[in-house]
Symmetry: C2
Subunit: 355 residues, 2 copies
Amino acid sequence: VNVAADKLREQIAEILRVWGMPADYVEQTADVMVETDLRGIDSHGVGMIAKYHEWGHMGGIAFDAPITVETDLPAVAVVDGGHGLGHPVGVFAMKLAIEKAAAGGVGLVVAHNSNHYGPAGYYAMMALERNFLGMSMTSAPGAAMVPTFGKEPKLGTNPIALAAPARRNPPFVLDMATTTVAIGKINIARRLGIPLPEGWATDDHGRPLTDPAEAGRLRHLSPLGGTRELGSHKGYGLGAMVEILCSTLSGGAIACVNQRLGRGDARGHVGHFFMAINPAAFRPAGAFEDDLDDLIDTLRATAPADPDQPVLVAGDPQAEAKEMRLREGIPLADALVEEIRETCRSSNARFMLDG
Amino acid sequence: VNVAADKLREQIAEILRVWGMPADYVEQTADVMVETDLRGIDSHGVGMIAKYHEWGHMGGIAFDAPITVETDLPAVAVVDGGHGLGHPVGVFAMKLAIEKAAAGGVGLVVAHNSNHYGPAGYYAMMALERNFLGMSMTSAPGAAMVPTFGKEPKLGTNPIALAAPARRNPPFVLDMATTTVAIGKINIARRLGIPLPEGWATDDHGRPLTDPAEAGRLRHLSPLGGTRELGSHKGYGLGAMVEILCSTLSGGAIACVNQRLGRGDARGHVGHFFMAINPAAFRPAGAFEDDLDDLIDTLRATAPADPDQPVLVAGDPQAEAKEMRLREGIPLADALVEEIRETCRSSNARFMLDG
């Protein structure tokens, strides 16, 4: 089923409203989710709605929580998300970081008492409206990444995003998990019945696991690098860096720490990191954008190994997906449509994706 | 040959002095280089001295250049390294970032017109003296990383470093190139005559290269991830992120851009990124250190795949190397001692490592 972006936005908004979200949060959250699906990041858009429903029922998400500023200095702030869904927390905190960057060149805002916020890249990209650079990272309420030399998961997929404005090129938008792949890729291989490459996941003994069904069940993801020989300690180190900047700096909970110390569920206590940088505070206005154009052009001009597969720049596949999906609609798998229908039914929300 | 740290420091200082470095730069640079060798990062300490000599002769390094602040706002600054060696530039810029973090919670300083500055981790660790978090990244004057889908190098090994203070544990210190391995690891395999794993380097056609001699000659390094299947586009994206934050934000040169646009050598025009964060501006004093201790303890407590190889935390191998080398001296290969001797001879510096 292909669904127009506006229709999907209305459907998501309807569900969030009946869950008790105030109107401004509804608008922000629906925009994050639809934009994510438009950009082809299917794992982090409307595909999460059933999970949010489940977590809300478990008491982990306060959909109408007020978002407050705990600490506020000219260049830094700490935001308390009130245990709400992460999307409005992210929009609030990134706006604050952007205001600070407009005033003084940089704004660094961390948030805690939050939840899953969708894709890190959305918040980084908010800075582009002002021709600023944006960064965002987030920790997660559960562990999936197995540290190098270990055999049990400790960190989340802990993504890093950077968006930077160019002039004649689309912006540079990096948005990457610090695991080799996200769990969604393993599920795709499972449905297709094809073995996983060594370096995506490990078994209960910490050995590379190639059986996609078993990997989907265990959810033991390898850090970027895949194996020690190919630098998985770097992916593990980046994942820990994200955890420190998001959770340790903000006072957020860390799932593996909570579990070890018997502190209970980390859901509702997730930490995020946001930074905005105004390049015009560093260099004459426009110089950054011009130089980034030169860099992007030079990267694109790299001689390709295969003439039919040109060298890309971070954000290219997502920009292409958005162009196509704005034109043709957002493809939703039948199983996902049924999930949304069921979520509507049990939430007493109107189902709007028929026909 | 094992050399005591103080003796190596005197030898390096002697050479830098005869190259025309002022006394304060000499002290700072020798400290960075010796600390690097103590921490076992042999590729970035005194092992670079012959290269600095060569680049100095080529006119790429102004050893006595004044370091100036171009732009100075409360939370951000731009430093002009005057085309000098990167070490004093890095120390100067990171000190400025730390002062800004002490005053307002965060300091973000970029530098341009600089050169190779040794290991990114040294500058990040400077923040630890104040119980701050430190970050540093640097671009490079030459290209070594081949972008995903490409067959020619475009970016440097572009490292990322984060240091964060704990209380009862040693600090967390991540310091990693965004390539799978540094060129030094390929040279080690070449000397041993053992094939490289697929994912370290590529050949002239962009295909994985396992011949260590050929890989050492070509210097076509793969981004972290190694292959597209294992996420090399993420390592490539991180390398580009480092380039943007170091060079595009500071007005530094980018080797591949200069080459494409006929702008000449990037040496002397390298850009760096420095950030310091005072956690006490975000949370009650000491809370960050306590929570980082809990995270470090939890990561170390990960059930190991092999009981004889416990799970480590970033910085552990380097801290262990330092302890041993402070006790037993810094091991220098014969070939390196001869390089230092030759550098002394041709610089009219006293050679001090005999006996």
